[in-house]
Protein backbone atom coordinates (compact mmCIF):
# COMPACT_ATOMS: atom_id res chain seq x y z
CA UNK A 1 0.00 0.00 0.00
CA UNK A 2 1.35 3.42 -0.86
CA UNK A 3 1.90 6.19 1.64
CA UNK A 4 -0.75 8.91 1.13
CA UNK A 5 1.26 11.58 2.92
CA UNK A 6 3.18 12.79 -0.22
CA UNK A 7 -0.15 13.27 -2.07
CA UNK A 8 -1.54 15.37 0.73
CA UNK A 9 1.69 17.37 1.01
CA UNK A 10 1.74 18.03 -2.73
CA UNK A 11 -1.85 19.27 -2.70
CA UNK A 12 -1.11 21.51 0.28
CA UNK A 13 1.99 22.95 -1.37
CA UNK A 14 0.15 23.63 -4.64
CA UNK A 15 -2.79 25.22 -2.86
CA UNK A 16 -0.70 27.51 -0.65
CA UNK A 17 1.60 28.48 -3.52
CA UNK A 18 -1.34 29.29 -5.81
CA UNK A 19 -3.07 31.40 -3.16
CA UNK A 20 0.06 33.39 -2.39
CA UNK A 21 0.81 33.90 -6.06
CA UNK A 22 -2.69 35.13 -6.83
CA UNK A 23 -2.37 37.81 -4.15
CA UNK A 24 1.12 38.77 -5.34
CA UNK A 25 0.33 38.62 -9.06
CA UNK A 26 -2.67 40.96 -9.19
CA UNK A 27 -0.92 44.17 -8.10
CA UNK A 28 2.26 43.15 -9.91
CA UNK A 29 0.38 42.57 -13.18
CA UNK A 30 -1.53 45.83 -12.81
CA UNK A 31 1.78 47.63 -12.40
CA UNK A 32 3.39 45.79 -15.32
CA UNK A 33 0.42 46.45 -17.59
CA UNK A 34 -0.04 50.16 -16.93
CA UNK A 35 3.13 51.65 -15.44
CA UNK A 36 5.37 53.78 -17.61
CA UNK A 37 8.47 52.73 -15.66
CA UNK A 38 11.47 52.65 -18.00
CA UNK A 39 13.04 49.40 -16.83
CA UNK A 40 9.80 47.44 -16.74
CA UNK A 41 11.17 45.02 -19.35
CA UNK A 42 13.94 44.06 -16.97
CA UNK A 43 11.38 43.12 -14.34
CA UNK A 44 9.41 41.16 -16.95
CA UNK A 45 12.56 39.28 -17.98
CA UNK A 46 13.37 38.40 -14.37
CA UNK A 47 9.85 37.10 -13.81
CA UNK A 48 10.14 34.88 -16.89
CA UNK A 49 13.50 33.43 -15.85
CA UNK A 50 12.06 30.26 -14.26
CA UNK A 51 10.56 29.36 -17.65
CA UNK A 52 14.00 28.69 -19.11
CA UNK A 53 16.29 28.29 -16.13
CA UNK A 54 16.93 24.68 -15.04
CA UNK A 55 15.08 24.20 -11.74
CA UNK A 56 18.31 22.95 -10.21
CA UNK A 57 19.91 26.35 -10.80
CA UNK A 58 17.12 28.19 -8.99
CA UNK A 59 17.17 25.54 -6.25
CA UNK A 60 20.93 25.85 -5.92
CA UNK A 61 20.84 29.61 -5.45
CA UNK A 62 17.99 29.36 -2.96
CA UNK A 63 19.90 26.67 -1.06
CA UNK A 64 22.89 28.99 -0.79
CA UNK A 65 20.71 31.94 0.21
CA UNK A 66 18.67 30.08 2.80
CA UNK A 67 21.58 28.15 4.31
CA UNK A 68 22.06 29.02 7.99
CA UNK A 69 25.79 29.20 7.22
CA UNK A 70 25.26 32.34 5.13
CA UNK A 71 24.09 35.88 5.81
CA UNK A 72 20.38 35.77 4.91
CA UNK A 73 19.71 32.29 6.25
CA UNK A 74 21.60 33.13 9.44
CA UNK A 75 19.60 36.33 9.87
CA UNK A 76 16.30 34.44 9.52
CA UNK A 77 17.36 31.78 11.97
CA UNK A 78 18.65 34.22 14.58
CA UNK A 79 15.81 36.72 14.43
CA UNK A 80 12.78 34.65 13.46
CA UNK A 81 13.91 31.16 14.36
CA UNK A 82 13.07 30.24 10.78
CA UNK A 83 15.01 27.73 8.76
CA UNK A 84 14.07 27.61 5.08
CA UNK A 85 16.28 24.78 3.91
CA UNK A 86 14.74 21.32 4.13
CA UNK A 87 11.44 22.70 5.44
CA UNK A 88 7.91 23.13 4.08
CA UNK A 89 8.14 26.93 4.42
CA UNK A 90 11.26 26.90 2.26
CA UNK A 91 9.41 24.81 -0.35
CA UNK A 92 6.61 27.37 -0.45
CA UNK A 93 8.99 30.26 -1.09
CA UNK A 94 10.85 28.29 -3.76
CA UNK A 95 7.57 27.28 -5.44
CA UNK A 96 6.28 30.85 -5.42
CA UNK A 97 9.40 32.01 -7.25
CA UNK A 98 9.45 29.02 -9.56
CA UNK A 99 5.79 29.29 -10.58
CA UNK A 100 5.68 33.10 -10.75
CA UNK A 101 5.62 33.34 -14.58
CA UNK A 102 2.80 30.80 -14.80
CA UNK A 103 0.57 33.11 -12.80
CA UNK A 104 1.88 36.44 -14.12
CA UNK A 105 1.96 35.78 -17.86
CA UNK A 106 -1.70 34.84 -18.47
CA UNK A 107 -3.04 37.61 -16.22
CA UNK A 108 -0.69 40.17 -17.74
CA UNK A 109 -1.60 39.29 -21.30
CA UNK A 110 -5.28 39.35 -20.33
CA UNK A 111 -4.93 42.89 -19.00
CA UNK A 112 -2.88 44.03 -21.98
CA UNK A 113 -5.51 42.71 -24.38
CA UNK A 114 -8.29 44.75 -22.81
CA UNK A 115 -8.95 48.00 -24.67
CA UNK A 116 -7.45 50.86 -22.67
CA UNK A 117 -10.69 52.79 -23.15
CA UNK A 118 -12.49 50.46 -20.69
CA UNK A 119 -10.27 51.71 -17.92
CA UNK A 120 -10.44 55.30 -19.09
CA UNK A 121 -14.23 55.14 -19.30
CA UNK A 122 -14.37 53.94 -15.71
CA UNK A 123 -12.14 56.82 -14.61
CA UNK A 124 -14.31 59.36 -16.40
CA UNK A 125 -17.29 57.87 -14.56
CA UNK A 126 -15.59 58.85 -11.31
CA UNK A 127 -14.30 55.41 -10.29
CA UNK A 128 -10.95 54.86 -8.59
CA UNK A 129 -8.20 52.62 -9.92
CA UNK A 130 -9.05 49.98 -7.32
CA UNK A 131 -12.78 49.89 -8.12
CA UNK A 132 -11.92 49.80 -11.82
CA UNK A 133 -9.60 46.83 -11.30
CA UNK A 134 -12.05 44.86 -9.19
CA UNK A 135 -15.32 45.62 -10.97
CA UNK A 136 -14.26 46.13 -14.58
CA UNK A 137 -10.82 44.77 -15.41
CA UNK A 138 -10.77 41.50 -13.47
CA UNK A 139 -14.28 40.35 -14.42
CA UNK A 140 -13.32 40.83 -18.07
CA UNK A 141 -10.23 38.64 -17.84
CA UNK A 142 -11.84 35.69 -16.04
CA UNK A 143 -10.41 33.26 -18.56
CA UNK A 144 -6.87 34.55 -18.00
CA UNK A 145 -7.30 34.43 -14.24
CA UNK A 146 -8.49 30.86 -14.42
CA UNK A 147 -5.62 29.89 -16.70
CA UNK A 148 -3.13 31.51 -14.32
CA UNK A 149 -4.56 29.75 -11.28
CA UNK A 150 -4.74 26.34 -12.87
CA UNK A 151 -1.36 26.54 -14.59
CA UNK A 152 0.28 27.59 -11.32
CA UNK A 153 -1.43 24.79 -9.44
CA UNK A 154 -0.51 22.16 -12.02
CA UNK A 155 3.03 23.43 -12.39
CA UNK A 156 3.61 23.35 -8.64
CA UNK A 157 2.41 19.76 -8.55
CA UNK A 158 4.96 18.94 -11.24
CA UNK A 159 7.94 20.49 -9.46
CA UNK A 160 10.92 18.26 -8.92
CA UNK A 161 14.33 19.88 -9.30
CA UNK A 162 13.74 22.85 -7.03
CA UNK A 163 12.15 20.67 -4.35
CA UNK A 164 14.98 18.20 -4.48
CA UNK A 165 17.62 20.89 -4.13
CA UNK A 166 16.07 22.85 -1.33
CA UNK A 167 13.74 20.39 0.37
CA UNK A 168 15.33 17.01 -0.02
CA UNK A 169 13.00 14.15 0.84
CA UNK A 170 11.84 14.51 4.43
CA UNK A 171 8.58 12.63 5.03
CA UNK A 172 5.65 14.88 6.02
CA UNK A 173 7.82 17.96 5.49
CA UNK A 174 9.23 18.05 1.97
CA UNK A 175 8.55 14.64 0.41
CA UNK A 176 6.06 15.55 -2.32
CA UNK A 177 4.73 13.06 -4.88
CA UNK A 178 7.33 13.77 -7.55
CA UNK A 179 10.08 13.11 -5.01
CA UNK A 180 8.27 10.04 -3.70
CA UNK A 181 8.21 8.56 -7.21
CA UNK A 182 11.95 9.12 -7.52
CA UNK A 183 12.55 7.46 -4.13
CA UNK A 184 10.38 4.46 -4.99
CA UNK A 185 12.20 3.93 -8.27
CA UNK A 186 15.55 4.21 -6.50
CA UNK A 187 14.48 1.45 -4.13
CA UNK A 188 13.06 -0.61 -7.03
CA UNK A 189 9.41 -0.36 -5.82
CA UNK A 190 8.05 0.00 -9.32
CA UNK A 191 4.50 -0.74 -8.29
CA UNK A 192 4.32 2.17 -5.87
CA UNK A 193 6.03 4.48 -8.34
CA UNK A 194 3.43 3.45 -10.89
CA UNK A 195 0.52 4.28 -8.62
CA UNK A 196 1.93 7.71 -7.74
CA UNK A 197 2.72 8.47 -11.37
CA UNK A 198 -0.73 7.34 -12.51
CA UNK A 199 -2.46 9.53 -9.96
CA UNK A 200 -0.40 12.58 -10.97
CA UNK A 201 -1.01 11.97 -14.67
CA UNK A 202 -4.77 11.52 -14.29
CA UNK A 203 -5.10 14.50 -11.97
CA UNK A 204 -3.08 17.00 -13.99
CA UNK A 205 -4.69 15.89 -17.24
CA UNK A 206 -8.19 16.34 -15.88
CA UNK A 207 -7.60 19.84 -14.54
CA UNK A 208 -6.00 20.94 -17.79
CA UNK A 209 -8.91 19.46 -19.73
CA UNK A 210 -11.34 21.29 -17.47
CA UNK A 211 -9.57 24.59 -17.94
CA UNK A 212 -9.60 24.31 -21.71
CA UNK A 213 -13.28 23.46 -21.72
CA UNK A 214 -14.11 26.42 -19.50
CA UNK A 215 -11.91 28.77 -21.51
CA UNK A 216 -13.65 27.79 -24.73
CA UNK A 217 -16.92 28.71 -23.12
CA UNK A 218 -15.56 32.09 -22.00
CA UNK A 219 -14.28 32.82 -25.48
CA UNK A 220 -17.68 32.17 -27.02
CA UNK A 221 -19.27 34.55 -24.55
CA UNK A 222 -16.80 37.39 -24.61
CA UNK A 223 -15.73 39.76 -27.35
CA UNK A 224 -12.14 39.85 -26.23
Amino acid sequence: MIDLEPLWLTAKLALVTTSILLVVALPLCYWLAYSKFKFKVVVEAIISLPLVLPPSVLGFYLLIAFSPENGFGKFLEEHFNLRLVFSFQGLIIASVLYSLPFMINPILSGLKNLPISLQEASFTLGKSKFITLVKILLPNIKASLLTGIVMTFAHTIGEFGVVLMIGGSIPKETKVVSIAIYDEVQSMNYHNANVYAGILLAFTFSILLAVHLINNKFKQKSLF
Binding site: P115, S117, L118, I136
Partner: protein, 291 residues
Protein backbone atom coordinates in the same frame (compact mmCIF):
# COMPACT_ATOMS: atom_id res chain seq x y z
CA UNK B 1 -17.73 78.74 -19.29
CA UNK B 2 -14.65 76.83 -20.35
CA UNK B 3 -11.26 78.41 -20.95
CA UNK B 4 -8.83 76.06 -22.64
CA UNK B 5 -5.20 76.42 -23.56
CA UNK B 6 -2.82 73.58 -24.35
CA UNK B 7 0.57 73.07 -25.89
CA UNK B 8 1.77 69.55 -26.56
CA UNK B 9 4.10 67.80 -28.97
CA UNK B 10 2.08 65.24 -30.92
CA UNK B 11 3.46 62.13 -32.58
CA UNK B 12 1.78 61.88 -35.96
CA UNK B 13 2.37 59.78 -39.02
CA UNK B 14 4.28 62.72 -40.51
CA UNK B 15 6.60 63.16 -37.54
CA UNK B 16 6.19 65.36 -34.51
CA UNK B 17 3.95 68.37 -34.66
CA UNK B 18 2.98 70.81 -31.94
CA UNK B 19 -0.59 71.10 -30.80
CA UNK B 20 -1.05 74.70 -29.77
CA UNK B 21 -4.64 75.78 -29.21
CA UNK B 22 -6.58 78.15 -27.07
CA UNK B 23 -10.33 78.74 -27.07
CA UNK B 24 -13.28 79.72 -24.91
CA UNK B 25 -16.63 77.98 -24.79
CA UNK B 26 -19.79 79.50 -23.31
CA UNK B 27 -21.97 77.56 -20.95
CA UNK B 28 -24.63 75.52 -22.75
CA UNK B 29 -22.97 75.81 -26.14
CA UNK B 30 -22.72 72.95 -28.60
CA UNK B 31 -19.23 73.15 -30.06
CA UNK B 32 -17.76 70.97 -32.77
CA UNK B 33 -14.09 70.37 -33.43
CA UNK B 34 -13.57 69.87 -37.14
CA UNK B 35 -10.43 68.89 -39.01
CA UNK B 36 -8.47 66.15 -40.71
CA UNK B 37 -7.47 63.08 -38.77
CA UNK B 38 -4.25 63.69 -36.92
CA UNK B 39 -5.06 67.38 -36.47
CA UNK B 40 -5.28 66.95 -32.71
CA UNK B 41 -9.05 67.01 -32.13
CA UNK B 42 -9.24 63.89 -29.99
CA UNK B 43 -6.17 64.98 -28.04
CA UNK B 44 -7.96 68.20 -27.08
CA UNK B 45 -10.89 66.22 -25.67
CA UNK B 46 -8.53 63.90 -23.81
CA UNK B 47 -6.57 66.78 -22.31
CA UNK B 48 -9.81 68.39 -21.17
CA UNK B 49 -10.88 65.10 -19.56
CA UNK B 50 -7.50 64.65 -17.88
CA UNK B 51 -6.76 61.44 -19.81
CA UNK B 52 -3.74 62.96 -21.57
CA UNK B 53 -1.08 65.31 -20.27
CA UNK B 54 0.32 68.34 -22.03
CA UNK B 55 3.56 70.26 -21.65
CA UNK B 56 1.78 73.55 -21.08
CA UNK B 57 -1.86 73.94 -20.25
CA UNK B 58 -4.51 75.97 -18.53
CA UNK B 59 -8.03 74.67 -18.16
CA UNK B 60 -10.61 76.62 -16.26
CA UNK B 61 -14.25 75.59 -15.97
CA UNK B 62 -16.76 77.91 -14.33
CA UNK B 63 -13.97 79.71 -12.53
CA UNK B 64 -12.42 76.51 -11.17
CA UNK B 65 -8.92 75.68 -12.42
CA UNK B 66 -8.79 72.03 -13.55
CA UNK B 67 -5.25 72.04 -14.81
CA UNK B 68 -2.36 74.44 -14.99
CA UNK B 69 1.20 74.17 -16.27
CA UNK B 70 2.79 74.81 -12.91
CA UNK B 71 1.09 71.65 -11.60
CA UNK B 72 -0.32 73.64 -8.71
CA UNK B 73 -3.75 72.70 -9.90
CA UNK B 74 -4.51 69.29 -11.23
CA UNK B 75 -7.96 67.86 -10.85
CA UNK B 76 -7.97 64.07 -11.25
CA UNK B 77 -10.02 62.54 -14.08
CA UNK B 78 -12.49 61.20 -11.52
CA UNK B 79 -13.23 64.61 -10.07
CA UNK B 80 -13.85 66.42 -13.37
CA UNK B 81 -17.46 66.99 -14.16
CA UNK B 82 -17.38 65.37 -17.59
CA UNK B 83 -19.10 62.68 -19.58
CA UNK B 84 -16.92 61.07 -22.24
CA UNK B 85 -18.24 59.02 -25.14
CA UNK B 86 -15.38 57.05 -26.65
CA UNK B 87 -15.00 56.24 -30.29
CA UNK B 88 -15.22 52.51 -29.51
CA UNK B 89 -17.98 53.21 -26.92
CA UNK B 90 -15.97 51.39 -24.20
CA UNK B 91 -19.02 49.64 -22.77
CA UNK B 92 -18.17 47.17 -20.02
CA UNK B 93 -18.69 43.69 -21.49
CA UNK B 94 -19.24 42.08 -18.10
CA UNK B 95 -22.19 44.32 -17.26
CA UNK B 96 -25.68 44.58 -18.75
CA UNK B 97 -26.93 47.81 -20.28
CA UNK B 98 -28.61 48.81 -17.03
CA UNK B 99 -25.57 47.84 -14.96
CA UNK B 100 -23.34 49.87 -17.27
CA UNK B 101 -25.47 52.90 -16.44
CA UNK B 102 -25.67 52.08 -12.74
CA UNK B 103 -21.90 51.74 -12.57
CA UNK B 104 -21.70 55.46 -13.25
CA UNK B 105 -23.78 56.35 -10.18
CA UNK B 106 -21.89 58.00 -7.34
CA UNK B 107 -22.44 57.25 -3.66
CA UNK B 108 -25.46 59.40 -2.91
CA UNK B 109 -26.91 59.68 -6.39
CA UNK B 110 -30.56 59.08 -6.96
CA UNK B 111 -31.05 55.87 -8.92
CA UNK B 112 -33.98 57.47 -10.74
CA UNK B 113 -31.66 59.04 -13.31
CA UNK B 114 -30.85 55.59 -14.67
CA UNK B 115 -34.52 54.83 -15.30
CA UNK B 116 -35.00 58.27 -16.78
CA UNK B 117 -32.10 57.86 -19.20
CA UNK B 118 -33.15 54.36 -20.21
CA UNK B 119 -36.52 55.82 -21.12
CA UNK B 120 -35.17 58.93 -22.81
CA UNK B 121 -32.77 56.92 -24.97
CA UNK B 122 -35.38 54.22 -25.63
CA UNK B 123 -33.24 51.50 -24.11
CA UNK B 124 -35.78 49.98 -21.73
CA UNK B 125 -36.26 46.81 -23.75
CA UNK B 126 -32.49 46.31 -23.94
CA UNK B 127 -31.62 46.97 -20.32
CA UNK B 128 -30.86 43.34 -19.49
CA UNK B 129 -28.73 42.76 -22.62
CA UNK B 130 -24.97 42.54 -22.61
CA UNK B 131 -23.15 45.07 -24.84
CA UNK B 132 -21.82 42.40 -27.21
CA UNK B 133 -25.40 41.62 -28.28
CA UNK B 134 -26.18 45.20 -29.30
CA UNK B 135 -25.95 46.87 -32.70
CA UNK B 136 -23.61 49.81 -33.28
CA UNK B 137 -26.37 52.36 -32.89
CA UNK B 138 -27.66 50.77 -29.69
CA UNK B 139 -24.16 50.68 -28.21
CA UNK B 140 -23.80 54.34 -29.02
CA UNK B 141 -27.01 55.19 -27.19
CA UNK B 142 -25.89 53.22 -24.14
CA UNK B 143 -22.52 54.98 -24.16
CA UNK B 144 -24.26 58.34 -24.42
CA UNK B 145 -26.68 57.52 -21.62
CA UNK B 146 -23.89 56.22 -19.40
CA UNK B 147 -21.86 59.40 -19.90
CA UNK B 148 -24.79 61.47 -18.63
CA UNK B 149 -25.66 59.49 -15.50
CA UNK B 150 -23.34 61.67 -13.43
CA UNK B 151 -25.05 64.77 -14.87
CA UNK B 152 -21.76 66.33 -15.89
CA UNK B 153 -21.24 69.94 -16.84
CA UNK B 154 -19.44 68.99 -20.02
CA UNK B 155 -20.22 66.22 -22.49
CA UNK B 156 -17.30 65.15 -24.68
CA UNK B 157 -18.07 63.13 -27.81
CA UNK B 158 -15.15 61.62 -29.71
CA UNK B 159 -16.47 60.89 -33.22
CA UNK B 160 -19.28 58.83 -31.77
CA UNK B 161 -21.11 58.63 -35.08
CA UNK B 162 -18.28 57.45 -37.28
CA UNK B 163 -19.12 53.76 -36.90
CA UNK B 164 -22.78 53.90 -37.93
CA UNK B 165 -24.57 54.24 -41.24
CA UNK B 166 -26.22 57.47 -42.40
CA UNK B 167 -29.76 56.63 -41.36
CA UNK B 168 -28.62 55.71 -37.85
CA UNK B 169 -26.43 58.78 -37.81
CA UNK B 170 -29.43 61.09 -38.24
CA UNK B 171 -31.35 59.38 -35.46
CA UNK B 172 -28.40 59.48 -33.10
CA UNK B 173 -27.85 63.15 -33.82
CA UNK B 174 -31.37 63.70 -32.53
CA UNK B 175 -30.60 61.79 -29.36
CA UNK B 176 -27.49 63.87 -28.83
CA UNK B 177 -29.41 67.12 -29.30
CA UNK B 178 -32.11 65.83 -26.98
CA UNK B 179 -29.76 65.15 -24.07
CA UNK B 180 -27.77 68.31 -24.74
CA UNK B 181 -30.90 70.38 -24.26
CA UNK B 182 -32.61 68.25 -21.62
CA UNK B 183 -29.63 68.18 -19.24
CA UNK B 184 -28.41 71.70 -20.16
CA UNK B 185 -24.98 70.39 -21.06
CA UNK B 186 -22.03 72.10 -22.62
CA UNK B 187 -21.14 69.69 -25.40
CA UNK B 188 -17.96 69.30 -27.43
CA UNK B 189 -18.15 67.00 -30.43
CA UNK B 190 -15.28 65.80 -32.58
CA UNK B 191 -16.49 65.22 -36.11
CA UNK B 192 -15.52 65.55 -39.72
CA UNK B 193 -18.98 65.19 -41.12
CA UNK B 194 -20.16 68.55 -42.44
CA UNK B 195 -23.94 68.08 -42.39
CA UNK B 196 -23.65 66.94 -38.80
CA UNK B 197 -21.80 70.08 -37.80
CA UNK B 198 -24.46 72.25 -39.40
CA UNK B 199 -27.26 70.43 -37.72
CA UNK B 200 -25.81 70.28 -34.22
CA UNK B 201 -23.35 73.04 -33.51
CA UNK B 202 -23.61 76.58 -32.26
CA UNK B 203 -19.94 77.00 -32.92
CA UNK B 204 -17.33 75.21 -34.97
CA UNK B 205 -13.60 75.23 -34.31
CA UNK B 206 -11.59 74.21 -37.35
CA UNK B 207 -8.27 72.62 -36.48
CA UNK B 208 -5.47 71.88 -38.86
CA UNK B 209 -2.04 70.53 -38.01
CA UNK B 210 -2.42 71.34 -34.34
CA UNK B 211 -3.58 74.92 -34.81
CA UNK B 212 -6.94 76.61 -34.86
CA UNK B 213 -7.66 77.75 -38.39
CA UNK B 214 -11.04 79.37 -37.82
CA UNK B 215 -13.82 79.45 -35.31
CA UNK B 216 -17.38 80.71 -35.32
CA UNK B 217 -20.87 79.79 -36.41
CA UNK B 218 -20.90 76.91 -38.89
CA UNK B 219 -22.36 78.89 -41.79
CA UNK B 220 -19.77 81.62 -41.37
CA UNK B 221 -16.82 79.27 -40.92
CA UNK B 222 -17.63 77.21 -43.99
CA UNK B 223 -19.10 79.92 -46.18
CA UNK B 224 -15.89 80.73 -48.02
CA UNK B 225 -14.69 77.50 -49.46
CA UNK B 226 -17.30 74.87 -48.82
CA UNK B 227 -20.63 76.44 -49.62
CA UNK B 228 -21.29 78.59 -52.68
CA UNK B 229 -23.35 78.59 -55.82
CA UNK B 230 -20.43 76.88 -57.46
CA UNK B 231 -20.43 73.11 -57.89
CA UNK B 232 -17.25 71.15 -57.52
CA UNK B 233 -16.96 67.44 -57.94
CA UNK B 234 -13.91 65.26 -57.94
CA UNK B 235 -13.95 62.03 -59.90
CA UNK B 236 -12.20 59.72 -62.26
CA UNK B 237 -12.39 59.74 -66.06
CA UNK B 238 -13.89 56.44 -67.17
CA UNK B 239 -14.51 57.10 -70.87
CA UNK B 240 -13.80 59.69 -73.58
CA UNK B 241 -16.19 59.53 -76.55
CA UNK B 242 -15.86 61.45 -79.81
CA UNK B 243 -19.14 62.89 -80.98
CA UNK B 244 -18.93 64.82 -84.27
CA UNK B 245 -16.56 67.67 -83.68
CA UNK B 246 -16.66 67.61 -79.90
CA UNK B 247 -15.85 65.09 -77.21
CA UNK B 248 -17.91 63.78 -74.27
CA UNK B 249 -15.96 62.85 -71.17
CA UNK B 250 -17.65 60.53 -68.67
CA UNK B 251 -16.49 61.19 -65.14
CA UNK B 252 -17.36 58.91 -62.25
CA UNK B 253 -17.98 61.02 -59.15
CA UNK B 254 -19.16 58.94 -56.22
CA UNK B 255 -21.91 56.77 -57.65
CA UNK B 256 -22.84 59.19 -60.42
CA UNK B 257 -21.54 59.46 -63.94
CA UNK B 258 -21.23 63.06 -65.05
CA UNK B 259 -21.02 63.83 -68.77
CA UNK B 260 -18.80 66.77 -69.58
CA UNK B 261 -18.35 68.28 -73.02
CA UNK B 262 -14.76 69.00 -74.08
CA UNK B 263 -13.00 70.33 -77.15
CA UNK B 264 -10.18 68.58 -78.97
CA UNK B 265 -7.62 70.86 -77.33
CA UNK B 266 -8.88 69.99 -73.88
CA UNK B 267 -8.91 66.27 -74.66
CA UNK B 268 -5.17 66.29 -75.31
CA UNK B 269 -4.54 66.65 -71.59
CA UNK B 270 -7.05 64.02 -70.49
CA UNK B 271 -6.67 60.26 -70.13
CA UNK B 272 -8.98 57.53 -68.91
CA UNK B 273 -8.25 56.78 -65.24
CA UNK B 274 -7.16 60.30 -64.38
CA UNK B 275 -8.49 62.00 -61.25
CA UNK B 276 -10.17 65.25 -62.24
CA UNK B 277 -12.10 68.14 -60.78
CA UNK B 278 -15.39 69.06 -62.45
CA UNK B 279 -16.52 72.57 -61.62
CA UNK B 280 -19.35 74.74 -62.81
CA UNK B 281 -20.21 78.32 -62.01
CA UNK B 282 -23.21 80.56 -62.35
CA UNK B 283 -26.18 78.32 -62.73
CA UNK B 284 -29.24 77.61 -60.64
CA UNK B 285 -29.14 74.30 -58.86
CA UNK B 286 -32.49 72.65 -58.16
CA UNK B 287 -33.26 71.05 -54.85
CA UNK B 288 -35.56 68.08 -54.40
CA UNK B 289 -36.54 65.98 -51.41
CA UNK B 290 -35.56 62.33 -51.93
CA UNK B 291 -36.76 60.68 -48.72
Amino acid sequence: MIQFYAYKMLQTSKGTQPLNVSFNIEKGQFVSLYGNSGAGKTTILRILAGLTNAEKLLIEVDGEVWDSSDKKHHLSIQKRSIGFVFQDFALFPNLTVKENLEFALQKNDNKKIVEELLELMELESLQQSKPQNLSGGQKQRVALARAIVRQPKILLLDEPLSAVDDEMRFKLQDYILKVHKHYKLTTILVSHHLPELYKLSDKVIVIDKGKILKEGKPNIVFSEQKISSKFKLTGEIIEIIKSDIIYVVNVLAGNNIVKVVATEDEINNLKVGQKVLVASKAFNPMIQVIE
